[in-house]
């Protein structure tokens, strides 16, 4: 059974329908990439999966529960964690406080040992996060902030991650470390749905991909199939991809 099952999803801002009947599924342990030009509805879809936008129509089933109408905190508690576009850290809080907020639902129940274990796992993935623990998140470089954003989602011990544009504004070297970390997460068996405009990077880490155009799925297939599709090569991998 898929971990995330989306069927006939419609999402509108007022009268403007942005997502027009999207259906897809993510199996446990898979990394799935969503591609699409600006305005295709990717971020909108991600936001509604996380409960930040109510769909106009359609069903979202996560871990066997219908979450189409669930509030964001309920979805997070089911184990679906969003790493939002633009990172959205708490800039004046230290890195450690950001992570504690990520693990809020565990710490509130006194599971400190579990949090300590999550931290160790995060340090293994991103040694830089340990070095920056006491610093305000807002003073970190872009790459470090993205590491903290992913770590904040990981310490909630999610069943699945939604990652929206991790590459935004990153220089080549930190970009590489973020995608290496995603490969490491894949090896650990984490389920991930990722939106990434740098298609060649996204296709490198994913198992399968969907291409969204004008609010509908125009194309889907394995990473290799998508990477070989002439339309994808032209629009997403092109000369300056």
């Amino acid at each position: 059974m898929p971990l995330l099952d989306v069927s006939d999803l419609h999402i509108a801002y007022g009268a403007l329908e942005v997502v027009k009947g999207v259906s897809f599924a993510v199996e446990p342990g898979e990394i799935v990439l969503m591609l699409g030009s600006n305005g295709a509805g990717k971020t909108t879809t991600m936001r509604s999966l996380a409960g930040l936008l109510a769909p106009a129509r359609g069903r979202i089933v996560f871990a066997g529960a219908d979450t189409s109408r669930s509030p964001p905190h309920a979805i997070a508690n089911l184990g679906l964690a969003l790493v939002p576009e633009g990172r959205q850290l708490f800039p004046e809080h230290t890195v450690r406080e950001n992570l504690e907020l990520g693990a809020y639902r565990h710490l509130r129940r006194g599971r400190h040992a579990e949090f300590a274990r999550s931290l160790e796992e995060v340090y293994e993935l991103f040694p830089r996060v340990r070095e920056r623990l006491g610093q305000p998140a807002g003073l970190l470089s872009g790459g470090e902030q993205q590491m903290v954003a992913i770590s904040r989602a990981l310490v909630s011990r999610p069943q699945m991650l939604l990652i929206d544009e991790p590459s935004l504004g990153l220089a080549p070297i930190p970009l590489r470390s973020i995608f290496d970390a995603l490969l490491a997460l894949k090896a650990r068996g984490l389920t991930v749905l990722i939106v990434e405009q740098m298609a060649w990077l996204g296709l490198e880490v994913c198992d399968r991909a969907y291409v969204l155009e004008n609010g509908t799925i125009a194309l889907s297939g394995s990473a290799a199939e998508i990477a070989a599709d002439p339309r994808v090569v032209e629009a997403y991998l092109g000369p300056t991809g």
Partner: protein
Amino acid sequence: MTARGWLVGLALAALVLLPLFVQGTYYRFLGIVVFIYGIVAVGLNILAGYAGQLSLGHAALMAMGAYTTAILTKALAPVAFFAATGLHIWLGVIAGTAVAAAFGALLAFPALRVRGPYLAMVTIAFGWVIFKVLQEWVSVTGGDLGLASIPKAQIGLYIFDTQSFYYVVLALFAVAFLLQQQLVGSQIGLAIRAMKHSEIAVSSVGINVHRLKVLVFVISAAFAGFGGTLFAHQQNYISPDNFQFFSSVFFLLAVLFGGAGTLLGPVIGAAVLTLLPEMLHDFEKFRLIVYGGFILVTLYFLPNGVMGLLERRGAARADSGSAARDAVQPDFAATAGASLELDNVSKSFGGLQALRDVSFRVAPGSIHALIGPNGAGKTTLINVVTGFYRTDGGAILIDGQAANIASMHDAARRGIVRTFQTIKLFGDMTVLEHVLIGLACHSGAGFRLPGRVQAREQAARNLAAARELIALVGLSRFEQTPSSALAYGHRRLLEIARALAVRPKVLLLDEPAAGLIAEEIASLAEIIRKLRAAGMTVLLIEHHIDLVVSISDRVTVLDYGAVIADGPPAAVQRDERVIAAYLGPFHALA
């Protein structure tokens, strides 16, 4: 005429005819009060609703108008000339409005430093000070007893009674409403509405935000003072009690209740909140509880006020059918690019040296890329060049002349225009409006109210120019879309269109390709090449190395605030230090 235009016309006709059908001075009196409060609320709406500057001191500004005219007309009334002409009343109205406007300018100064709740606190303090002065300065204001026997409004020998004054105030109220409409629709209005969302972005297109803020406070205070003068001549008696803190709250409540930042909102709010208590007489001692409860419930269900609800219903239109225009080549001939030179520029924040002795030259009419790791000081450099920060040392030269750039709007006026890494747009304003604001500054028509022929022609020219720029960045089908509804990459393109509207000599692009797919990056490259072909100088900060390599004439690399390489892209790409600090072993893939 639009449907709304007809509605307003009908409402006005009803108000004109009302006294013929409703008998009794009481209702006319109530009407006058509604119109006066409406004028004050309209003024507050311009400030709080459109410009986003909270004020809880408007009752004090109204008091300035009322007391000024009261004192002046009482002094002049015995003079035979004034008694025969009634001129003293209208002198008083003008003087009262002017005095309130002057106090508005005074109140604007704290607003240059503080915002939101802090500004609200300052205006509350202002209101208290004025209230106390009115109470204590007995020789002038009459203290708690106030000023009585203020002359009634008069023209020639004709003295207005409640019946005729109703029409005078109705007409003045209509004028105030029209002024609001004209202001909001003008170029100033665009800038005022934009200021609410991002003051930094407003100054980036060359508008002096400080002056704009003072202006909007003056305008708003003038409305309040004007309302105050009419109030004085209607009541014939004023005391500090008329202008208490609660009155200020009342006006803000009226604006929020009706719908802040809408034309009709303050009018509806003032009318409902004034008339409602009168209709609740039957509730006797529970009257204020019912009144408060009604406001509470309404604001809970209508967070954007009455007009907010109506506009949401009406906002069905989305992508207007404006077809995508292609093959656009905007006329940039007027903007020959300038050279930009940094000579030993340094900048530090506390102990952190963000820029150390940075020197390089951007040739006129070239595409010059600035690359480096996250945190290398690239954005700081843009901030220094555009006057957002002052340098600690070194010089910035434009076309070889040392430029002492004092502020962002100063930089924009010299033709140094930027986009922002952390996108700064104007919330719910449309794509078209964003670009029109950019055009306002250099077209010179900027700060003139529309209506005159040249102004209308200028507006048409601006509209055409704005559409061209929007087409250039490929956003034509989103002309009427609020910027908040745009996808991330489209917001970046809109920032570029807004910057181009200022007609830059040097355009500074801070990560324009972030969030774009390959196809979109290719069109962005095409746009940047077109700008160079037209002679513009472009300084490009970007992490998409292929884009940098394919379009740049020259590349400068920053690391830890210092230049580590400078040269043609191919050479920089091979530089060992650049590979170690920035590109990584991985660059071969890119």
